[in-house]
């Protein structure tokens, strides 16, 4: 307890110092920050934006456009009028944006804060998470959750195979209207080991097998397109199961007291982070330094159940800001949750998303 307080204290002091040094010569400006909206934006607002606005006098405008961020960046850069200053984006989109020169290459060690113990960012961030133009913030996960009231207490689903088991667990399922995640889960439910999923999916037979498995539940599925829909559908009991980002489900569980439970089996996890539109680095540098430091990332975990992307933040993850429940067990990276986790293969999806999406749409239309 004492140790952790001490630890926090030094971290705070360090942040205070750096903020002080930043404040010199800085002038108040407006930052247009693009993110995902909902509970996620709220967690960023509380953990980074509000403290930053207080410190720097900057004004932050939140824009909920991350779902279409790549299109927005392209359009703005084509128009030569980039209005976004910082964008929250998935690594797959960041790769494409980076290749098109839409976003700035980042020298992580030069731009970001060291860990409190002096570890440089290149070693402090989760292994393999730093990409040329990408600054990770969190580890999030795609999971399936269910409404516990829809099943008898003594017979609740627990694995991804149960989601595909209509006989034992009847009811509608809400799944994302994309092939991503669904194909992975279909294969796992069909007996493929989580580690082999992408190998199997790289073959035509594997794709057929996945679609065949999805066929078995197709007429019980409602397809969602916006991240806010699944908790809503589950709360309204329009569906019994819903796939979602784990943070959204967590938020519904604790903040709205919904009787939801997350099936961590075969969670598909990946990172999410910042990218800087070309030409905006100087403007957002100070904010970025602040918002991605160890303390800020740990703070974010008070508001939403996404794992911090810095190793040094992990021990500082404490309790939920409103309810005081310990956050650790709700993190995708919590070992019992992580046993059968699938790391999303962005390389595979970068190559196959166009084709599999069309195939998925054709399958939906059948």
């Amino acid at each position: 307890m004492l140790k952790s307080r001490l630890f926090k204290g030094t971290a705070m002091a360090a942040v205070g110092l750096s903020a002080l040094s930043l404040a010199i010569g800085a002038h108040a400006q407006t930052l247009n920050i693009v993110s995902w909206g909902g509970a996620y934006s709220m967690s960023q607002q509380k953990a980074y934006n509000e403290p930053w606005m207080e410190k720097s006098g900057d004004k932050i405008v939140n824009i909920d456009r991350s779902g279409n961020a790549l299109a927005g960046l392209r359009a703005q850069s084509q128009a030569g009028n980039v209005t976004w200053d910082l964008v929250d984006m998935l690594p797959a989109d960041a790769k494409i944006a980076c290749a098109e020169g839409l976003i700035e290459p980042i020298d992580h060690d030069a731009i970001l804060a060291d860990a409190p113990d002096g570890t440089p960012p290149s070693e402090d961030f989760v292994q393999g998470s730093l990409d040329e133009c990408f600054i990770p913030q969190i580890v999030y996960s795609n999971i399936v959750a269910f409404n516990t009231e829809m099943f008898p207490e003594d017979h609740q689903p627990s694995t991804i195979a149960d989601v595909f088991n209509l006989e034992e667990f009847p009811g509608k399922r809400a799944l994302i209207r994309k092939p991503i995640n669904n194909l992975e889960w279909a294969l796992v439910a069909d007996g493929v080991a989580p580690a082999d999923v992408y190998d199997v999916l790289s073959t035509e037979e594997g794709v057929q097998r996945a679609f065949a498995k999805l066929d078995t539940i197709k007429d019980q599925v409602i397809w969602w397109t916006e991240g806010a829909q699944p908790p809503q559908l589950l709360a309204d009991k329009e569906v019994a199961f819903a796939s979602a980002y784990n943070g959204r489900m967590f938020n519904a569980q604790v903040s709205e007291n919904q009787p939801f439970k997350i099936i961590w089996d075969a969670q598909v996890f990946e990172l999410d982070g910042w990218v800087v539109p070309t030409g905006k680095l100087d403007k957002v540098k100070d904010y970025l330094y602040f918002a991605t430091d160890t303390q800020r990332l740990a703070d974010q975990a008070k508001y939403i159940s996404y794992g911090p992307a810095r190793k040094s933040s992990a021990p500082m993850v404490s309790t939920h800001a409103e309810t005081g429940i310990p956050m650790k067990t709700h993190m995708p990276t919590y070992p019992p949750n992580f046993k059968t986790a699938i790391p999303k293969d962005n390389e595979f999806w970068a190559d196959n998303n166009d084709e599999l999406t069309q195939r998925f749409d054709a399958w939906l239309a059948q």
């Binding site: 909206g37 359009a75 084509q78 128009a79």
Partner: protein, 283 residues
């Protein structure tokens, strides 16, 4: 539509069946708009009537969604944007459209049909196609994500309405009135302000109202070409419906229904005034 005295019994029955049928269709037309009004006063965050509401329990009703609306800077900002864009686009469309309509109603207008077809086409081309096309083009000329871009786009969409209403007014306009004014000694300017303008005004105003409501209600084009600064009310509603469906939307919807009732009344009064001025009174 009274039943004629010579109608047979079967006809009478059919007559009443027909009236019931019409009543049901009217219910279909109006019912949905009526239903949302009480729902917007729901004390609970649901899109349906709660038991408390059905028992007319005052506790089942509240103004919380209206408070939500008026305390949300997002919504207020969206309203402001909607008015900025709507009013600017209306003024542009009305001026351009009225001047063009004056030309179009001339008997000597060459290629009248072709030009009219072109002027009306923004109304016929599906919005999503106009939106995609304008997005591509406006991006190239630095108009995407600007107020100017959104205003120009909405001007385009409003123009057909102004052209149609003003040419319609002008086509029923008796040009001998102008000659009469001339012969009575009025100069062209005086004739325009004293004779032409009063008769054309109702058409211009209703055209402007159409242009305004088109802009005020438009979501597809804004969705494509507006930036975060130009978020209008329909965009706010659209993302609200898609993402976080809340009864605040119903409160907004109720206010918009009331707005459309006001607009409709204005139009109806204009029409009556117009007819009175021409010496025709509604039956």
């Amino acid at each position: 539509m009274a039943v004629p005295s010579y109608a047979t019994r079967g006809e009478r029955i059919w007559h009443y069946v027909f009236l019931v049928l019409c009543a049901l269709i009217f219910l279909f037309l109006i019912g949905p708009l009526i239903v949302i009004i009480p729902l917007s006063f729901n004390a609970e965050p649901y899109f349906t009537f709660t038991p408390a509401m059905l028992h007319l329990d005052p506790a089942g009703y509240s103004l919380r969604w209206y408070q939500d609306f008026f305390s949300s800077s997002d919504w207020l900002n969206a309203i402001k944007n909607s008015f900025i864009v709507g009013i600017s686009a209306t003024i542009l469309a009305t001026v351009l459209g009225t001047v063009a309509a004056l030309g179009l109603s001339s008997h000597h207008m060459p290629a009248r049909g072709a030009i009219m077809t072109l002027l009306i086409s923004p109304m016929i081309v599906p919005l999503i196609i106009s939106a995609a096309a304008m997005f591509f083009f406006f991006s190239k000329i630095n108009l995407a994500q600007t107020y100017a871009g959104v205003i120009l786009a909405h001007t385009v969409l409003g123009i057909p309405f102004v052209v149609i209403t003003v040419t319609a007014t002008l086509s029923s306009f008796d040009t001998s009135l102008i000659r009469a004014a001339h012969s009575l000694g009025a100069n062209p300017t005086r004739t325009f302000f004293k004779v032409v303008l009063p008769l054309v005004t109702p058409g211009v105003v209703s055209g402007a109202l159409f242009a305004f409501i088109t802009s005020f209600d438009e979501v597809v084009v804004v969705l494509f070409i507006a930036g975060p600064e130009q978020r209008t009310m329909p965009i706010q509603m659209w993302s609200g419906i898609r993402e976080q469906i809340s009864p605040t939307i119903l409160a907004v919807a109720t206010m918009l229904v009331i707005l459309s009732i006001l607009l409709l009344t204005t139009l109806e009064l204009l029409r009556r005034r117009n007819e009175r001025m021409r010496g025709i009174s509604p039956g």
